[in-house]
Symmetry: C2
Subunit: 467 residues, 2 copies
């Protein structure tokens, strides 16, 4: 962190030394991966596995308890069943660890008994100035130093500017997929669990001022901290960084499920929350698909200052459908300049004239498929009437991902946004990986591509209106 | 067909002899696959390739023109550029073919000149009683006899009861993916193109009485035939078979794009169309994702007579989110019987009590992952308060697809609907294929699974209200 006064959460993302309590030698268990991920990903800090039955774990000396560790401990990751957690916390207090994160469930979400243990933990920590994430939380993750608290084996943590705040383990089992197949590029992730101490107010405050975070996505079931402060913070943050919010428990049935999930009491109606979020300039989404789709688009692409879109689709039918999606999402079809039409004429059959949406299927009867797409992208890069491009990818046998990535990259460099989708997502898998490695987003379908593209314009417009 | 009076479209789905005009020997061209698909899939009828420059194509004797073919011809597939089509049609009239289908574009959708050629074709066909699909159409397909008109290589056509009506080539480039990866099971597909003769009224009429069609999905940009008759037919059909409709060109921009796509004039406002469709009992969807998702759910599963859903999700957070999706889609959480809760207790950790939504992640700390899911499915099969089940699949290393398929199959046999989704769609690919081979639908996400599930109940309720 560049600030002279570090935020208290800095410790959680950049611990110099970590005790992993409950570390396991058995690769079949979740607790094995807590240490294995740190070793495999070469986290540069000190790692102390704690396990009374092990001498050594993953080549690291293991300790019977936290107190027997020689060095100072920045962070203790406590991953033992709920009924053992309190004793470990006492050890951590004695050892003067600076922060703890508790993975186990079985606390406030299970009723009065669990809640009183949770309260007891807080009573031990507070007077000693020890901050805590959780319980019922699996976090944090920082891709810059490969610090990760995770139960699943993770092969790599590609770096980006997207940071996530989660209330529960919703993302963790998806992490490998999000990184390796959906191609999100993360900066930091934090799962807050029951939020007995650290809340989304703290997490948002931290990420808002984090220079390595450019986009923030928040999943929450209820605001545990000071709701007014959260909304103020949200409003301030959205002026600089897009913030996406997925609040679940929005229906009565969902709210009831949420209360038995983390033990939180839903204090405000969803309508009140919704209005407040809208006013803050944050982008509320209704589900997980949109959540990740929008996170990706903001991480990958520049904002759109205007809403004029050029479409290229494999069939006329697809063009009509995609035009509908555009208009329904507040996007307009670009009026191509005469020069652009002239240029596109070269790839068109003689009987047809270039229009927007462009039917690439018609063109490919006369010009090689990839040439049609390259010519289209180059013409759109030069057309001053075009702010964004949405294009279905050529069928697999014509899909030369490297050439496409090059032309698309040029276009993005010139400040234009581009989204794509494959006709056959299965066959296009290799090409998708290549394109997304170059930050060219490939969505599973036209509708999802357009919804994401539209967010780039909506966010810009909101920010302009608020400034 | 069992009817004594066969519908005129029967010829198009069961031709005894087919002339393929424009057949190509070059595997790099679309026209190669017109014949290759018929040969590879062992279409039992006679196939006559027509190509003046070839003696033989795919082992079949080729003919210089339609007139030189010795035998009778039920259907001529005309796949030559628009400007050559008229001459071929004259040959077909002379040869007394019974029906034709025209693949080329370049007709009414390109303006006055193209429209007048199209009109001329009609003037030739009508007095001779020759019916025509297209132009600008790639169809039909019948999975029962492997008759297919298609430009892309198709490996197999698994049989099912889903029939599609399309206005344009929107589905054709997706066919391989729809069959092999998305696992739709088709009966018949028909792409109507410019609808110069055969319209959606004819196609719907045919599929409504087709015993091999149980679900109908229609994509259209405008109703070309008698709109009143179409709506009457729709209303009659939805009493027996679910009909899904995707009408594009619903926005002004989309309607404009549609008119330059197939040359159709959009006669009624979208709001009028929408109201009429709703009244008919058909299910209108807004995009292609829903279109295929709902087609799948009706093809795979029994209807739901009530809306009481049991959820099992990998995390509490996922449960809350999925509960929201349920309520937003008109589904309620089932009140499990005491017996069911008793049974579920056996797989639960002692501190927790089974609730709906069930957190399988909590269970798997104490019971092997797959056992949790099997026990859940078996208990739900027996619970009289449960009409439908939505379940996130276990993580890949615990995903024993065969056991899951067996328990889920039992459940479906007992008239209950079940939808699932994977946490990591990439790793679960093999399991998804196995489950869907057994007609257990696996959607890409919880929201899509729930939207599909809800359609099963909504359609039942509509049909009950209308009867």
């Amino acid at each position: 962190m560049s600030n002279s006064q570090a935020h208290f959460l800095d410790l959680f993302f950049h611990p110099r030394s970590v005790a992993v309590v409950g570390a396991s030698r058995n690769p079949q268990t979740a607790n094995y991966h807590l240490v294995a991920n740190l070793v495999n990903l070469k986290f540069p800090g000190k790692v102390y596995p704690v396990n009374p039955n092990a001498k050594e774990i993953m080549g690291l000396k293991a300790y019977p308890d936290v107190r027997s560790i020689e060095g100072d401990i920045d962070l203790a990751v406590i991953s033992v069943p709920a009924n053992l957690t309190l004793d470990i916390v006492r050890d951590c207090v004695a050892k003067k660890v600076k922060g703890i994160t508790i993975t186990a469930g079985g606390f406030s979400e299970t009723g009065t008994a669990g809640r009183s243990v949770q309260d007891e933990i807080l009573r031990l920590l507070r007077p000693n100035g020890i901050r805590a994430i959780g319980p019922n939380a699996l976090s944090p993750i920082n891709t810059r130093n490969n610090f990760i608290v995770g139960f699943m084996p993770i092969q790599k943590l590609p770096q980006g500017k997207l940071s996530l705040i989660f209330q529960s383990g919703l993302y963790e089992p998806r992490l490998q997929w999000l990184v390796s197949d959906y191609h999100l590029y993360f900066s930091k992730l934090v799962d807050l669990g029951n939020k007995m101490d650290v809340t989304e107010v703290d997490a948002l405050e931290y990420l808002a001022q984090d220079p390595e975070t450019g986009v923030i996505a928040i999943h929450t079931e209820s605001i545990a901290g000071d709701a007014r402060k959260f909304l103020q913070l949200l409003q301030k943050t959205t002026g600089e960084k897009p913030v996406i919010i997925l609040k679940s428990g929005r229906t009565p049935a969902g709210a009831k499920a949420a209360s038995s999930h983390t033990g939180a009491i839903i204090r405000a109606s969803d309508a009140v929350f919704d209005a407040a979020v809208r006013q803050s300039g944050a982008i509320r989404v209704a589900g997980l698909d949109d959540f990740f789709d929008l996170a990706k688009v903001f991480e990958y692409l520049p904002l759109m200052k205007k809403n004029r879109i050029a479409l290229a689709t494999l069939s006329g039918g697809e063009g009509v459908l995609t035009t509908d999606y555009c208009q329904l999402n507040g996007l307009a079809l670009a009026e191509l300049t005469p020069e652009t039409k002239q240029r596109l004429h070269a790839i068109f059959p003689p009987w047809d004239i270039p229009v927007n949406p462009l039917d690439t299927g018609v063109c490919t009867q006369f010009t090689a498929g990839i040439d049609v797409h390259i010519a289209f992208l180059q013409a759109m890069a030069d057309d001053p009437n075009v702010d964004g491009i949405a294009m279905s990818l050529p069928v697999s046998r014509l899909l030369q991902a490297e050439e496409l990535a090059k032309s698309t990259g040029e276009l993005i460099k010139r400040g234009k946004a581009v989204v794509t989708w494959p006709i056959d997502p299965a066959e296009a898998r290799g090409a998708i990986a290549h394109l997304e490695a170059n930050r060219i987003p490939v969505y599973p379908s036209a509708e999802r591509a357009i919804r994401a593209l539209a967010a780039l314009y909506r966010y810009h417009k909101m920010r302009e209106a608020m400034s």
